[in-house]
């Protein structure tokens, strides 16, 4: 993958995100404040959710409004397996990945022929059905309360922090690798003109299904770790607000880039926490800010990267089309 870093712009990007990630690893060195660590941990979760959303929806432009389905599903599976079978996380995470990956394939197959609006609606519907089912089948799912008492990942706060960070790092790197290769390009091409991709001999159905499957699987891993971290799972792990929030984070950051959702999730989670003193106006400012960003920067925050770099004369020629 390092061979892909041909242009100054790409090298700049790699250094930028590399430094941020490095910073994450050093946070506990400078502080063991519980609150601080948990804020970052929350950010890491949302990074996982938003980037996994992006690999399918951001590239294909099929707006997935029900991504939290995978979070909740993985969470409930984790709860069952942990509480009834006592399997360790290293076994549970792959199980969730597989389950969610298969579900992603299934949904991808069902929705193959659907255009944008229909697709958005059905992803919402699936997530909503799961949500309602979780509440309805309360003997198994604990109803509205959910299932508490999932065993924690490690026995220390710092241990948990690094566990989540490592998982997030792996997922982020994987997604960068995956999308910088052929599939990112083909997915983008599909979103711009599917007929031409077909006319090049590529089975677009397969490409979409595979991307959706990966999107689900990775989100499932995140969802499982999320459940462990909260030691609890409930319908709120699948609620519409969560799905929409993830989507908004990815859009604010810049969809179809993987790095965009990374930034979007990070910034919005930090903003959310830092503005706690604003109390009642917090959510209002948050949502207004989101509207403003989407309106003025439809390509997301990452699209400001080049103008900012140019302003600071950080080198690199003017933007590459489609990089």
């Amino acid at each position: 993958m390092l061979a892909n870093l041909k242009t100054p712009a790409q090298r700049r990007t790699a250094i930028f995100y590399g430094l941020i990630m490095l910073g994450f690893y050093f946070v506990p060195v400078f502080s063991d404040n519980f609150y601080l660590l948990s804020v970052f941990t929350t950010a890491y979760f949302y990074i996982i959710f938003a980037t996994s959303w992006d690999v399918f929806a951001g590239y294909s432009h099929l707006m997935n409004f029900g991504h939290a389905l995978f979070i909740g599903l993985a969470g409930y599976l984790t709860a069952f397996v942990d509480l009834h079978l006592g399997l360790p996380p290293l076994l549970v995470l792959p199980m969730c990945a597989v389950l969610c990956g298969l579900l992603g394939m299934f949904i991808g197959y069902l929705t193959l022929r659907m255009q944008g609006p229909y697709f958005a609606i059905i992803t919402m519907a699936f997530a909503a059905v799961a949500y309602e089912s979780a509440i309805m089948f309360s003997e198994y799912t604990g109803g509205e309360e959910g299932i508490p008492g999932i065993h924690p990942l490690t026995d220390s706060l710092i241990g948990d922090y690094y566990f989540v960070l490592v998982i997030m790092s792996l997922i982020f790197l994987f997604l960068l690798w995956f999308t910088r290769g052929r599939w990112g390009l083909v997915l983008k091409a599909i979103s711009q003109n599917e007929d031409s991709v077909l006319a090049s001999g590529i089975n677009t159905a397969w490409v979409k299904i595979r991307a959706y499957s990966i999107s689900g699987a990775l989100c499932g891993i995140g969802g499982s770790v999320y459940a462990y971290s909260l030691t609890h799972v409930g319908p709120t792990s699948m609620e519409q607000v969560l799905s929409t929030t993830i989507l908004i984070m990815a859009m604010v950051g810049g969809m179809g880039t993987i790095t965009g959702p990374f930034l979007g999730a990070l910034i919005l989670v930090l903003f959310n926490e830092l503005s706690r003193d604003m109390e009642e106006y917090r959510l209002l400012i948050y949502t207004v800010m989101v509207v403003v960003i989407i309106f003025f920067a439809p390509r997301g925050i990452v699209s400001w990267g080049q103008p900012i770099a140019r302003a600071f004369k950080l080198g690199g020629k003017r933007g590459q089309a489609g990089s």
Partner: protein, 286 residues
């Protein structure tokens, strides 16, 4: 026997509210290709504006509802002109922008009115017995008002210049432009109508169901179900599907279990999306 009557009557009432919500939603989708996720917000604002006009400004209820609906309609036009116009071509951004606006509106309402559920009084107090089934006057009025509004909508669409222009745009935007129709105006007015209809529904339901800042979620989900089942872009289909859903939910609630009423709509939606995406009547606005 009484059960069937109850189901028919209450299903019809529910269907009326759904019909108002769905026709507005379908209208703007058919005309502008926009899936307006802020549609539920109009419903919510119809309720809250009516509340303020009635309780704070002391305006009697019937004109309050009308005025509220007009205000919401105007707000819808504003939304369209400011936020949606530059982005109309990209479905993606419209979806995200409208949902972000919906959340922002929820927050504003929450800050202004608080999270407690509130009600407005019935248009007319009292109830009447229809063949043994007790129905409130207000509920009957819902049916009557819905009928009037839908008929008026039909008249506007088929008899006025705006209406015919709207139909033209919904069939072929470029073609309509070619014959000189000002599509911008049609979009604006359709947005007004769409928001107006939703607001009326929200106001009418508020004596029965308390208004809360989260109330915009429900109409949106129902609108989805109705437009998919009825055929996205088909007004007649939406109306038919709205009543079908109303009856189906009422039936489920009475006969099977009240807990399942919410799931019914979702299952219906999923089934239709997977097996018959074009709905009952397919794609054109008619």
């Amino acid at each position: 026997m009484e059960l069937i009557q109850e189901i028919i009557i209450f299903g019809t009432i529910k269907g009326c509210v759904y019909a108002l919500i769905a026709t507005g939603f379908t209208l703007i989708f058919a005309v502008a290709g926009i899936l307006n996720l802020a549609h539920g917000t109009f419903y919510m604002l119809g309720a809250y504006f009516t509340y303020t006009l009635f309780y704070v400004l002391g305006i009697p209820l019937p004109p309050a509802i009308l005025l509220a609906a007009v205000l919401v309609g105007a707000l819808g036009m504003l939304l369209d002109r400011v936020f949606l116009k530059p982005m109309r071509s990209s479905h993606t951004y419209v979806l995200v922008l409208t949902v972000a606006i919906a959340f922002a509106a929820q927050e504003i309402i929450l800050l202004t009115y608080g999270s407690q559920g509130m009600n407005i009084p019935n248009l007319v107090e009292g109830s009447v017995s229809l063949n043994g089934v007790v129905v409130s006057w207000h509920q009957l009025l819902i049916v009557a008002i819905t009928a009037v509004v839908l008929v008026m909508l039909w008249l506007v669409l088929t008899r006025t210049r705006y209406g015919v222009a709207t139909l033209a745009v919904s069939m072929d935007e470029d073609g309509a432009r070619l014959v000189g129709i000002e599509t911008e105006k049609v979009f604006n007015l359709s947005m007004f109508a769409s928001a107006f209809l939703a607001a009326v529904a929200g106001a009418l339901i508020s004596p029965i169901m308390s208004m809360t800042p989260e109330m915009w979620n429900m109409p949106l989900m129902k609108a989805f179900v109705v437009v998919v089942v009825g055929g996205i872009g088909s007004l007649t289909g939406s109306i038919m599907a709205a009543f079908f859903l109303g009856w189906l939910e009422t039936f489920t609630g009475f006969v099977i279990s009240p807990k399942l009423t919410e799931v019914v709509s979702l299952v219906l939606l999923t089934v239709f999306l997977v097996f018959r995406p074009s709905g009952i009547l397919g794609r054109r606005l008619h």
